[in-house]
Amino acid sequence: MSADIADLVASLAAAAGPDEQIEAYASRGSSTEVRVWRGQVEHFVSAASEGVGVRVVSGGRTGFAYAGTLEADAVAEVLAEARENVAYGTADPDAGVAEPDGVEPVDIELWSDELDRFATADKIELALELERMVLAMDPRIRVDDANYIDGGGEMAVATSTGIVRHRRGNSCHVSVSTLADDGDETQTGFGYSIGDHPGEFDLEWAAREAVERATRLLGAEKPPSERTTVIFDPFVTAQLLSIIGSTLNGEAVVRGRSLFADRVGDVIASELVTLIDDPTDVRAYTATDVDGEGLATRRNVLIDAGRLDHFVQSTYSARRAGVVSTGNGVRGGYSSTPGTGCLALQLVPGARSRDDLIADVDHGVLVQSLSGVHSGVNTVSGDVSVGATGMTIRNGALATPVREFTVASTIQRLLTDVVEVGGDIEWLPSRAAGVSLVVRDVSVSGTS
């Protein structure tokens, strides 16, 4: 085993010469994935990974290299390659690593000893239990797979400008995919539960979601094409929030790729919309006290009662925009340099339950799943067109199941057409929390 990763990154950063800046990032972790099917373990993956990424900035030019190992000779090679790569970059006066900004990370606990101690046999048993619960709920249900997944580890980042951060964290969730059969017809569903440790899972809820999402769709048909009111369920809203968040990105703004550039201070959404990126909220699955550049994360209100307040910024985007980092340097691990992005989005919830929201809709559609989010959304033009499944709403109640249709609008219109935000916030295994969202005047395309 290699040395302490905090010492490793600190020594890499300390290697900076007088005319260069160095940022070193290292991580080490392990994960478990248990998949069961028909009462047996289908696979059990026990994974361990480690690696280091080094960014060198000199004369405004940036070079980067990484290796998926912490072996000393590979680490030395990474530093040499990053330095060599500098020569081919173009000078950019705003390039550079983060500088200490005096903001201390919030004191939040992201590590669970209970999860760390959780026995292998118990992980398998949890996945088996989830499968059994699902199967017992409805004779029409089959399970495609039931899973227990956890991961934990440490990361360290250091810069030659004086930042040294080291943190550890772990997380876990269970999920299940279901198939509901009726004659020749099959529909699918899913359920999941997250917790700081397995004792916080709600298997019953996960199982019920997975059963109801699939069985509810049996008999589904294409809806008629129309403009109508749509209620997005919490899981779907979380996907939409991730898309919206990517348009409030300071780097996209300075690079001329944001549809909300020059709109700070303007009303861009219904006054019911207050969108917050808050990785310091420990309820968020992606909560973290430190961003990918080693700066403290913070609570950022991006849209305040419909008004665009500010964009998320990393060190680079902030320098170009003449502002300061909002602690939103994101990185996909040791193999990439920090970018700019939202870390843990949530909409400030309303007061009413989903049933109450449905009761207010005479004619509309409840959307329970989306498909084609990566192919049908353009965050530069704002066009949104995605496949969907769900239920029609007639006279304030769920009516018939619908599938093989699309819902379409633009990001700009979705924000202004919000009619109500539900009170049913759900914490999901993703970068955004979910909540029911009612939007009017959405194009549904089904039969002609």
Partner: protein
């Protein structure tokens, strides 16, 4: 990467708890990437990923563990961990003897110009050429980014059947993204090229032409109108619509979905599942294409597999375990993103053969519909067959003529229904641009191709009334 006698000892350790099958997969991947944005080389990246995974199968249970350290001690530890993960049984370790001839090779294609021999400056020149061409195309082009990357991936596979195989694959990739801006808002254009070859790919592809084509696409879309809604005929240009088959039936023909009866194509072997015009092939041995590989990630040679012949389902795609359970040979479709992942049934290069029609005739025969000049990505629910794919560049067809550009959106359809509704297929086959196929969190490079074709009815996800 690892000596044969070490592999034999690791595999022997892996069978200690009574495993029916064990495998070592080792990988050494090096990559270089240059990204260019706003007229500047904004990043140069070098990467190295190296490691090995040990898979152990006991009954129907697979255990997997991996290590970034290729020493014998680490490999033995991974074998112990995988064996423990696969089951609690107790058996004697088997003696494993690998194919004595040393690792087998099954190369497809050749690398004429090793990317490592190309000076880094030459990459910058390519990026600048694409950027210049895109900016010169039209003053409404406001932003250009581009990237060039190459990778060399060496793999080694050995298993308890005695298989011992190795492969080395070099890939080069080039992309250009353009933003155009006008009063009505911003629009984007995109072009990419990916080849499983060396640097000679740039003799064949003109990066400046890719830059101006990406610019043309963004500029055309500045005057795009909202796409229609509802079901209508859809014509898809050659070499851009392979993703339709990838989603409409490719995933559904993967034997892991079939084994779980989670595909609309399960139990339909020998039946008519598509228009009689359709012959669908998956071919990992198609030299040079983005989804090409010599052996798959389980060590089996890739091959030409006919899946649908004249509309009739004739085969699925197989990995080692699924083929073993079915008592047949694997088809070279067991792939994984990297050594830290389990292999799965995956596509390689998936394409539909040419048909009898003239492409112009297909448009002329369409009274009112949508013409898709370039598709984006897609996704499918294999159990229901419902799938979507995006249109990156599309036009209205009115009275047999291609007319106005349309804004982006998805189309949605049901796999078996759409395959049956392919009523015209042209004689102008072409392969398409490089893709990354995602499944269960793993991405692998895939290719696709098809001739110009028409689907008599699909639902277009626009916003126009």
């Amino acid at each position: 990467m690892i000596d044969g006698d070490v592999l034999e000892r690791v595999l022997s350790t892996a069978t200690r708890r009574g495993a029916a099958f064990a495998e070592v997969f080792a990988e050494d991947r090096r990559s270089t990437g240059f990204s260019f944005d706003e007229g500047r080389v904004d990043q140069v990246t070098s990467g190295r990923d190296r490691g090995a995974g040990v898979r152990v199968v006991v009954g129907d249970t697979t255990g997997y563990a991996h290590t970034a350290d290729l020493s014998e001690a680490s490999l033995i530890a991974a074998a112990e961990a995988a064996a423990e993960a696969a089951g609690m049984g107790d058996g004697a370790a088997r003696v494993i003897a690998l194919d004595g001839a040393g690792p087998r090779r099954h190369p497809v294609g050749e690398v004429r110009i090793d990317p490592r021999s190309i000076p880094k400056d030459a990459r910058v020149d390519l990026l600048r050429a694409a950027d210049d061409a895109a900016r010169a195309y039209d003053p409404q082009v406001v932003q250009v980014s581009a990237g060039v990357a190459d990778s060399r991936r060496r793999i080694l596979v050995a298993n308890t059947d005695g298989l011992h195989a190795t492969d080395e694959v070099t890939r080069v990739l080039f992309r250009v993204n353009v933003v155009a801006d006008a009063d009505g808002g911003k629009q984007t254009g995109y072009q990419s090229m990916g080849r499983t070859t060396g640097w000679e790919a740039f003799d064949e592809y003109d990066v400046a032409a890719m830059g101006s084509d990406a610019a043309r696409q963004a500029v055309v879309k500045l005057r795009a109108r909202p796409a229609p809604t509802g079901a209508m005929p859809v014509v898809i240009a050659r070499g851009t619509g392979g993703v339709l088959f990838h989603e409409a039936c490719g995933h559904g023909l993967e034997a892991d979905h079939i084994a779980k009866d989670a595909s609309v194509y399960a139990g339909r072997m020998g039946e008519l599942v598509a228009s009689e015009l359709v012959t669908l092939v998956d071919n990992g041995s198609m030299a040079g294409e983005w989804g090409a590989l010599g052996i798959d990630d389980e060590g089996h040679p890739t091959q030409h597999n006919v899946l649908i012949q004249d509309g009739i389902l004739v085969d699925y795609m197989w990995d080692h375990l699924r083929a073993r359970d079915a008592g047949r040979a694997p088809s070279g479709n067991g792939r994984r993103e990297s050594y830290d992942c389990l292999p799965m049934v995956r596509m390689t290069n998936t394409y539909v053969l040419a048909g009898p029609h003239d492409p112009d005739e297909i448009v002329a025969a369409t009274d009112h519909g949508v013409y898709i000049a370039e598709l984006g990505g897609g996704s499918v629910n294999t159990a229901t067959g419902d799938f979507v794919f995006g249109m990156r560049e599309a036009y209205l067809i009115e009275n047999g003529q291609i007319t106005e550009p349309l804004r982006e959106g998805n189309l949605i359809g049901n796999g078996p229904q759409v395959l049956a509704d392919i009523d015209m297929l042209a004689d102008d086959f072409a392969m398409g641009s490089p893709g990354t196929c995602g499944k269960d969190g793993q991405g692998v490079p895939v290719g696709d191709g098809q001739p110009t074709l028409r689907v008599s009815s699909m639902t277009v996800g626009g916003t126009a009334a």
